[in-house]
Symmetry: C2
Subunit: 244 residues, 2 copies
């Protein structure tokens, strides 16, 4: 069991969409702040990592949602670096409401990337020591992501404000492109219950990307997403929705 | 002198761009939260105003910048509803650093809009009473905004997450389109010192807008901006910059 860290956050109106609940980019940014604050506390902050020529990159995110956090409520974000193996670090997040009820559970995998070469680095046990997370051999298997087979698409231009302080496009921003294609009516009639997303390739400033999507209506509504950079897959995701 | 309200805010990494300073959309969203929290406290919150069939719309914003707030610093936002006349309410904001030094001063004009008719409403003195701001006859004159005469332009699509809880595009979002056209090199080489922006017409979901701009290099660098909806002017702005 890794060292836990928790912080409180008051959800502001500007972090919510017209449903008065948090947007995906805002929610993911806030939980990442919790892990980044923990790393600062353990002297493994962004600067320390960058000085080693490394940067953290999120490769996979799974989100289970009981209810999205609401405008004005104070949430508690708990995070735990659960385990790491030769290449991946695993971290979980729990978002609770004021009464301690679980609203959202998020699981992520991170890799360390060499900044210059843009290549994956192996994970050093000494670097991970202060997190007290378990060193494992196993590589976690994630649920398979269903590919878009019969999709529509829309072109997006990467904006200056989509860049984060590491000069690459913040993963949370991919949700801007995935959600926007679903449209107003869909977004006011559905609420998300499950998200599975895999980040395959970095999107850079100046890139134009295509956001592909397909809506599947079975027992549950499911949307399939791909972010494409020319013929390369940058990101793929499945989202399960509930009708309101 | 109106009733003052102040709040503290810790600037998060996700509110900053690659310069490690706050983005315009983030900074404006945070100061508007201060005014909205004050209104809630005075029982003049969004819900109370909406129940009268009204909504606040920002028509003008002037920003004087000593230094943009930095990632990680705790700022104090002080706001004061300074005065109102038949149609306009004036409000000022001061952003101070931890030592009480003034970082940014913002002046705004608001009008009350009838939600159904999308028409301006006159401002009721009783509605304004709890703010204790002065009732005046005079209409404030703002510095003239220089028009784009020889501009370039780029097309933007209004995204779902650009909408605020009032179902219209948040004024802070206009800065996404105005800043993005300036490009990466310009944004890392310049820091803003003065902004003057006028909001002429609402941008709605589904609209495609053109962001026009012109860069003037004289004693100081100045950028001229227009947001256009077809042949209609939605927003015009001038920004003065300092070379780093």
């Amino acid at each position: 069991m890794g060292k836990k860290y928790s912080m409180q956050h008051e959800v502001a109106y500007y972090q919510c969409d017209i449903n008065q609940t948090m947007t995906f980019p805002a929610m993911l940014s806030v939980v990442i702040k919790a892990s980044s604050d923990q790393s600062d506390q353990l002297e493994r902050g962004t600067e320390a990592i960058n000085q080693l020529g490394l940067t953290w990159v999120i490769t996979q995110t799974e989100i289970n949602i009981n209810r999205m956090p609401r405008d004005g409520e104070t949430i508690t974000v708990i995070t735990e670096p659960t385990a790491f193996n030769k290449f991946f670090c695993y971290r979980s997040f729990w978002i609770n409401d004021g009464q301690g009820n679980l609203l959202v559970k998020i699981d992520m995998a991170f890799v360390l990337m060499k900044i210059e070469e843009r290549k994956m680095s192996s994970v050093d046990a000494e670097l991970m020591a202060p997190y007290e997370s378990e060193q494992i051999k196993k590589i976690k298997r994630w649920d398979k992501i269903e590919a878009v087979t019969d999709g529509k698409q829309r072109l997006y231009h990467v904006r200056f404000y989509d860049l984060d302080s590491n000069h690459h496009v913040n993963n949370a921003m991919y949700f801007n492109w995935m959600i926007d294609v679903l449209g107003y009516d869909f977004m006011v009639e559905h609420t998300p219950v499950y998200v599975n997303v895999k980040f395959d390739k970095e999107v850079l400033y100046g890139n134009d990307i295509h956001s592909l999507y397909q809506i599947i209506e079975e027992d549950q509504t499911k949307t399939l997403h791909e972010i494409r950079l020319g013929d390369q897959l940058a990101c793929e995701a499945n989202i399960v929705w509930q009708k309101k």
